[in-house]
Symmetry: C2
Subunit: 237 residues, 2 copies
DNA sequence: GCAAAAGTGTTAACTGTACACCCATGT
DNA sequence: ACATGGGTGTACAGTTAACACTTTTGC
């Protein structure tokens, strides 16, 4: 029904396109997301995800990286991946903007300096947010939780070295429910994600056996538990 | 390094933005993708995925649907989901274009009428394609194959009613490797994806037991095998 | 009866949860 | 010694691939 396939190069509509980062971090038993308080309308004063328009000659990925670099210490972003693109014409009331969201992860030890108008917001008690950013955060949480199950993405949330108990806390916080340190260790070790550093942590003054310290074997995303269904049982080893 | 955060509403760069459909179909033991032969430069004569610019007031999803409707019978598209967004500044040599790709699936019985310049291309022997479309097709294949393992997405490739042997052929073709009808049936039935229609298929003249016919219980995407790792064993039943 | 195709039973391997138990440390 | 937290052993349940076997048809 739409009248014309008005595909002529010259007169095609063009839109503002922005990249947008959902950067998570686990700290103090909270999964928090990096937000920015808006300085102007629309949604002046509301919290929003870091975002900005794509420059000419710039990819979306480079754009997010640039947006984040101007807000946090970019070297601390351990993982960044594309999430989804939102195109509702009314998502930005001031002008049509298509936005591509990225998921970014920062280790829990990193505490980059933030300007006054930025903050880490606890995802369990998010305030009303600007635009459709609240629902984008929800998408990002789902993506993160799925990948914690079937990939080694934990490396991007954990410090370089950690005890199993610390890792358990990070996973439990990110997943939003308790998990057992015993089984977490077994699963991750069976998949070859962890390796012992040899060092041990000192027990607290309350006593207890000193915990062995581990690190992730790889610091690049890997699918460690490929969808195992309908696959031939190709033993390898 | 980039000079300004030139975020002023008025003078932000705007880009051509298009939506692009990777529509798959299984027929004759081949996974094929709907392609279009380009009528003008760039890449005149080369095969390309159906695509077109986003209209004002139109979402990306609506745009793909519109693009496809002008090429195939739209009612036959059983599933459509967003895949990824490509933003390499040089992906279109004639002008900068950001493209959001969608994955579409068409049942193997549907054989919509195609205009002369469109065709179903076998994905195992794709010719050189225009733009970055070949790599987008690869992404789409990966997404499809993953989802065949952990969701009920097979419903979108299968005819309304089928025997297990027919379904096995569809899965094997889409996955690109043999699978056993015996185990496919067991897995899908345990997950509650299939239900018998009561009808049976007539055996060929070579004889053989008549096959029971099945249908998918749901014709909407469902995750039937959620990432089972690190979850409490919450028995339900 | 015999070939062919469909469907069921059964086994073995693997994965993950639960839980009991042992280990190493501080006080 | 004993409390405390870390770590291992073991049992059990669920899922799936492989394969033997039975069932139902045409000729």
């Amino acid at each position: 029904m739409p009248p014309a396939q008005n595909d002529r190069h010259s007169q095609v509509a063009r839109y503002r396109h922005e990249a947008l980062g959902v950067v998570f971090r686990v700290s103090d038993h909270a999964l928090s997301v990096l937000c920015w308080q808006r300085l102007r309308e629309p949604f002046e004063g509301a919290w929003a995800l870091p975002s900005g328009p794509v420059g000419p000659g710039e990819t979306l990925g480079a754009c997010v990286a640039r947006q984040l670099a101007s807000r946090v210490d970019i070297t601390k972003i351990a993982h960044l991946e594309q999430l989804e693109t939102r195109s509702d014409p009314d998502r930005d009331p001031s002008q049509r903007t298509i936005a591509t969201a990225y998921l970014g992860l920062v280790p829990s030890t990193a505490d980059p300096h933030l300007p006054k108008s930025a903050n880490w917001l606890n995802t369990t008690h998010l305030p009303a947010m600007a635009f459709d950013h609240a629902s984008i955060v929800q998408s990002a949480i789902e993506r993160l939780r799925s990948k914690l199950s079937y990939s080694n993405i934990g490396f991007a949330l954990a410090p370089p070295e950690f005890t199993i108990a610390q890792l358990r806390d990070i996973y439990a916080t990110a997943l939003g429910r308790d998990i057992s340190a015993t089984n977490l260790q077994r699963v991750l070790q069976r998949r070859g994600q962890l390796e012992p550093t040899g060092a041990t942590a000192h027990p607290s003054s309350a006593g207890g056996r000193p915990a062995a310290r581990f690190r992730f074997r790889h610091t690049q995303l890997e699918i460690t538990d490929p969808f195992a269904v309908l696959r031939p049982a190709d033993r390898q080893t």
